[in-house]
């Protein structure tokens, strides 16, 4: 009998692990955005007091982890393992940030879906009894991502109208068996979905099919509809990708209502901050979750929500070689109370 495994994709937690503490870090534009007041730490210096932007991004992850531990009254020794990743080559944002913590570490790469992937794995590690406390963390930085994926910032290239803005932000979430909530009741693991989009400046379109695939599986496996949740928040589809996702569901006769939104839409003022198609980057969904969303769940603003960050799994080389962009989406159902429906 599969009681934990509802399908190949969706897992249900019989004893839902809970979120113990969380923290997020942001830059200046994130502070100036609509969610500015939900940040634990912001710094107007994009270097975060370091010499390079890569070191700055590393510092953001370290700050997020340190702050999350502090908020939970924890020390690094309390955490059995951390799942972390970022967008830099060889995941150095995550690995370098953990140099001084001595916490057992699993590196994950899910592009902008990393928060969903790491949180799913942390929840499963805790629910399986393989860790008492597990952390999930990730980051992105506008200036390092430009260097990594496009051209260094001093090159001064223009962004296409469909392009999204990589958030300078990090988030860390500590999951444990003992918690006052919110709780993680289900996870739906994403599959690689590629509908042939080759435009690296239009990642919302590349990721929308993955979000559609994962959310369809989640709704099917749990017998729920989007309206059963107070909030369905996808990762970084942005304005364009969110519109495409709405259209994909509309074709199936499923309405994505006002309770469905996207971290890339929430993080910035689209017009006032001239964000084109919205925010993106691992740090975008990580910062929205580990501030606005978890705070809202704990204070009772929402009872149950779906957090479904999406990732565009391209590399600079694959873009130059004209390859299409595979997308992925990992969904996590978070609930204020432990009672998992179905």
């Amino acid at each position: 009998m599969d009681i934990k495994r509802l399908s190949r994709q969706t897992c249900r937690f019989l004893r839902p692990p809970g979120v113990v503490s969380w923290a997020n870090v942001g830059g200046r534009l994130e502070r100036q955005g609509p969610l500015g007041s939900y940040f634990d730490v912001t710094d107007d210096d994009s270097f975060f007091g370091k010499k390079t932007w890569e070191q700055g991004e590393t510092e953001m992850q370290a700050i997020a982890l340190r702050r999350a531990l502090q908020k939970g009254g924890l020390t690094p020794e309390d955490v059995d393992c951390v799942f972390a990743g970022d967008l830099l080559n060889q995941n150095i944002g995550a690995t370098f940030s953990l140099r001084d913590f001595a916490i057992p570490f699993y590196g994950v790469y899910g592009a902008c879906s990393t928060m969903g992937e790491s949180l799913s794995l942390a929840a499963m590690a805790v629910a399986g009894g393989f860790a008492r406390l597990a952390a999930a963390q990730t980051s992105s930085h506008f200036c390092t991502a430009e260097r990594q994926y496009r051209a260094p910032v001093p090159y001064g290239s223009q962004r296409a109208p469909t392009a999204q803005w990589t958030a300078t932000a990090a988030g860390c979430c500590v999951v444990g068996a003992q918690s006052e909530g919110p709780y993680i009741t289900h996870v739906t693991r994403g599959r690689i979905v590629d509908w042939g989009i080759t435009d690296a400046a239009n990642m919302g379109a590349a990721m929308a099919p993955a979000a559609y695939d994962t959310l369809t599986a989640l709704f099917r496996d749990t017998g729920t509809a989007p309206s059963d949740y107070d909030l369905v928040v996808t990762g970084d589809l942005g304005h364009l990708g969110h519109a495409l996702l709405t259209e994909l569901f509309r074709r199936d006769g499923v309405v994505l209502g006002d309770n469905c939104t996207d971290c890339g839409i929430l993080l910035y003022h689209r017009i006032r901050q001239d964000m084109h198609a919205g925010g993106s980057g691992c740090g975008c969904s990580a910062a929205v979750l580990n501030g606005y969303l978890l705070h809202g769940l704990r204070t009772g603003k929402w009872q149950r929500l779906v957090f479904a960050p999406t990732g565009a799994l391209l590399s600079p080389t694959s873009t130059f070689q004209g390859e299409s962009i595979p997308g992925i989406c990992h969904a996590v159902v978070l609930s204020r109370t432990k009672e998992a429906q179905r």
Partner: protein
């Protein structure tokens, strides 16, 4: 009149680049090299000289002007040295521009720290 022509010519070339950037999914680097190649091609068929005569610096400063210099340098070197000029002419003519780019690039990198894309 000279200034107006330069303004119009340079502005027009930039406007075309902006439209390409907004309407296609070509990356800035591809548009940049495309402009250089277009300048070479237009001068090779003898058209760009007319644009330079009319637009002055408005035609020579944008990237198409770099292509024009390459093509013109090759033509000149071939006339002087024969076929070897195909290899040497372009870079000889563009040497000033290339050396200036390297020197000023180095100076800026040594003097300044990169800043945010947006300061406000």
């Amino acid at each position: 009149m000279e200034y107006l022509n330069a303004f119009l010519c340079g502005g027009l070339l930039c406007a075309v680049g902006q439209i390409i950037l907004d309407r296609t999914n070509l990356t800035p680097a591809r548009i940049l090299t495309g402009y250089v190649v277009a300048g070479v091609f237009l001068q090779a068929v003898g058209v760009y000289q007319y644009v330079v005569d009319w637009g002055g610096a408005g035609a020579t400063v944008p990237l198409t002007g770099f292509g024009y210099t390459l093509a013109k340098g090759v033509a000149k070197a071939v006339a002087e040295k024969g076929l070897l000029g195909v290899i040497t002419g372009g870079l000889t003519a563009a040497a000033g521009g290339i050396a200036a780019a390297v020197v000023f690039g180095f100076l800026m990198a040594a003097l300044f720290r990169p800043g945010d894309k947006r300061q406000r």
